[in-house]
């Protein structure tokens, strides 16, 4: 660690000459940037020093501070996180290790796909506008990939809620035959024989005997730290931006017609419901997990954050546009019969005029968080 001090001293000099109110030289992007800048305002010198300490270390030497804690900037109006990194303290190094794993194709059996292949930052960590994802050897699954942001607020994972803990979520795509089709034992074998991972794990977890738990901890640090809370709608809630008249009317219509299920700041009640889609014959929905016949064709109410960036829609990606989604809800129970298993709230559909739909769609676009797409902290790391 002593190797770090030289560049730090140099950079402290640089810093002083830079002047504190000119923060451009240190600008990161997106969430982390705004978070860090806000913190800086409170503790300017200390924070900048710490930040520089860390960055200069990263550039110069391998033996850097493993203890640098990361804290997440979460708006006060967000729900309480379900996951608090208890037992898995969030550190810069843990986050970076998880990020590297997230983008590493050695986690798929034929080394062709990484997590990031189907959870692409440019699409708000959903797949590349395909209805169902393509796994190893061109295999097709049956579901549309859900975006991987704001995961720490989720009580259950996947469309059917089959996964009960954020740390266990990665095992689902890893082991799935139609996705990455690998075993945990094989993942560990590859990581343990890798020229760099044992060293990276040792830095974060203090041991180079890579365990499945530490592997899952690292992935959780990265995925759990991806928070999307910088949409136009957030800025509106924070009093920093105005919505247009059309967006405001859309917001009012959304509250009136949609928010009993798409509830709260994340636009989800975290429940499992059937929204009256015709059965695609592949999927039983939550029934597959609970074997309760009342759960047939139920899928989770998805968050609508970044919804305009994550087409296509529904659990099987059957609708390509938001217009098609709203058409479904307005036709349901009218021109389109509602199946028996349809949620009681939707049996008669949602009465929406064409102009209502346009306004709601305008509002839904305010849920797009473009800084999530450009935040370099979340992007594929450039390896030396």
């Amino acid at each position: 660690m002593h190797q770090c001090w030289l560049p730090i001293l140099l950079e402290v000099f640089l810093l002083i000459t830079c002047t504190i109110n000119k923060l451009q030289p240190f600008r990161l992007s997106g969430e982390t940037a705004s978070f860090i800048i806000r913190k800086m305002k409170a503790l300017k010198y200390l924070c900048i020093l710490l930040l520089y300490f860390f960055y200069s270390c990263r550039k110069v030497t391998d033996s850097f501070n493993t203890d640098e804690k990361l804290s997440l900037e979460i708006p006060a109006y967000f729900p309480q996180p379900k996951y608090n990194f208890e037992g898995n303290p969030l550190t810069r190094e843990g986050f970076e290790l998880g990020r590297r794993l997230f983008y590493d194709p050695i986690l798929s059996i034929d080394s062709s796909l990484s997590c990031g292949s189907c959870h692409a930052q440019v699409h708000a960590f959903a797949d590349h506008n395909v209805s169902v994802s393509v796994g190893v050897f061109g295999r097709k699954g049956t579901r549309n990939a859900l975006p991987t942001f704001n995961l720490i607020f989720m009580p259950l994972f996947n469309w059917d809620g089959g996964v009960n803990h954020i740390e266990m979520q990665p095992t689902a795509p890893l082991l799935n035959h139609d996705e990455m089709d690998i075993t945990m034992a094989e993942v560990l074998r590859r990581l343990r024989n890798h020229p760099e991972y044992p060293k990276l794990f040792k830095r974060v977890f203090g041991t180079d005997e890579i365990s499945a738990r530490d592997f899952l901890y690292a992935l959780t640090q990265f995925q759990g730290a991806i928070i999307s809370s910088d949409s136009k709608y957030d800025k509106y809630l924070q009093g920093k931006a105005q919505l247009t008249a059309e967006e405001l009317e859309g917001l009012a219509l959304f509250y009136q017609h949609c928010s009993s299920c798409h509830a709260g700041p994340l636009q989800t009640d975290f429940a499992f419901r059937s929204n009256g889609l015709e059965w695609n014959r592949h999927e039983e929905g939550r029934y597959h997990i609970t074997l309760d016949s009342a759960d047939f064709q139920k899928f989770r109410t998805p968050s609508l954050r970044n919804v305009a960036l994550t087409r296509p829609y529904m659990h099987d990606g059957r609708f390509n546009t938001l217009q098609a989604v709203l058409d479904h809800y307005s036709e349901l129970g009218r021109s389109k019969p509602a199946p028996d298993y349809t949620d009681p709230k939707l049996k008669d559909g949602i009465p929406l005029s064409e102009s209502d739909k346009e306004k709601i769609i305008a509002f839904l676009h305010t849920l797009s968080d473009f800084s999530l797409l450009s935040n370099s902290n979340y992007s594929e790391p450039r390896l030396k």
Binding site: G162, T183, V187, A212
Partner: protein, 250 residues
């Protein structure tokens, strides 16, 4: 001054009593024990082996390729009625282990024990607590990734009586009516297991691998169980009924 001196002497006396060598205190003595799982076939305890065709009393034939299960939450009862509960008590018993499947329980307080109890499966808490290590690490393949939870008992093999030619029993489930966690209490029938330092007494159990098909279960109907549910619960109950006490080694 005298007062101070006497206080010092009293303190010294007390501190001396704390310095006693802990190994002199019988309550601190510890030892290890083993639990041996002898896999047998049928009530006559005929020899059982993987990769060998076995004939069930019902006439069905089957060849096991895998038989593994979780034993957890081990508790030992002393002759005086007190219990010792093993912390972090999770083991996978694998019938492929040779010459015999056994697990070692370390750091057991010395004493005379008359009963052991354990779960076949994993308690619900550890099914909902995220990533785990040791026997509970998902790398052992005793785990469902799509429906979070441990596979408590895994039996796989082939059978001419199954329409698919195979059987796959992945038995688990920790919730509600599909709870497949089973507990078993094994009384030593008056015998006493003596745990002490530098000894490794053992509890010898018999496990009847044919017990899955107890009560008329037919491979023609039940040959693929891969999630919690009524069949998993039924097979768990059957399997646990086939675990019995044989003898102790002191």
């Amino acid at each position: 001054m005298k007062k101070l001196l006497s206080i010092a002497i009293v303190l010294l006396a007390f501190s001396c009593s704390k310095d006693d060598n802990p190994s002199d205190n019988p309550a601190d003595l510890k030892g290890a024990l083993e639990i041996k799982f002898e896999h047998v076939w049928g009530q006559n305890a005929a020899p059982f082996a993987l990769n060998q065709e076995m004939t069930h009393p019902s006439g069905q034939k089957m060849t096991f390729t895998t038989l593994k299960y979780y034993i957890s939450n081990i508790k030992l009862k002393k002759a005086d009625g007190t219990d010792w509960i093993q912390p972090e008590s999770y083991y996978i018993v694998d019938a492929a282990q040779t010459p015999e499947a056994k697990i070692t329980i370390p750091d057991v307080p010395a004493g005379d024990y008359v009963e052991v109890s354990f779960l076949i499966g994993v308690d619900s808490l550890r099914n909902t607590s995220g990533a785990q290590v040791g026997a509970l690490s998902p790398e052992h393949g005793m785990f469902w990734s799509w429906n979070t939870g441990y596979i408590f008992i895994k039996a796989e093999g082939s059978s001419p009586d199954s329409p698919t030619g195979t059987f796959t029993y992945h038995i688990g489930g920790f919730q509600g009516e599909h709870n497949a966690i089973r507990s078993r209490t094994i009384n030593f029938n008056g015998a006493v297991l003596m745990v002490k330092p530098n000894a490794k007494p053992s509890i010898h159990l018999m496990v009847n691998a044919g017990r899955f098909w107890h009560g008329g279960v037919q491979l023609s109907q039940v040959n693929r169980v891969h999630m919690p549910g009524a069949n998993a619960s039924m097979l768990a109950t059957n399997f646990v009924g086939g675990i019995s006490f044989d003898h102790l080694h002191n």
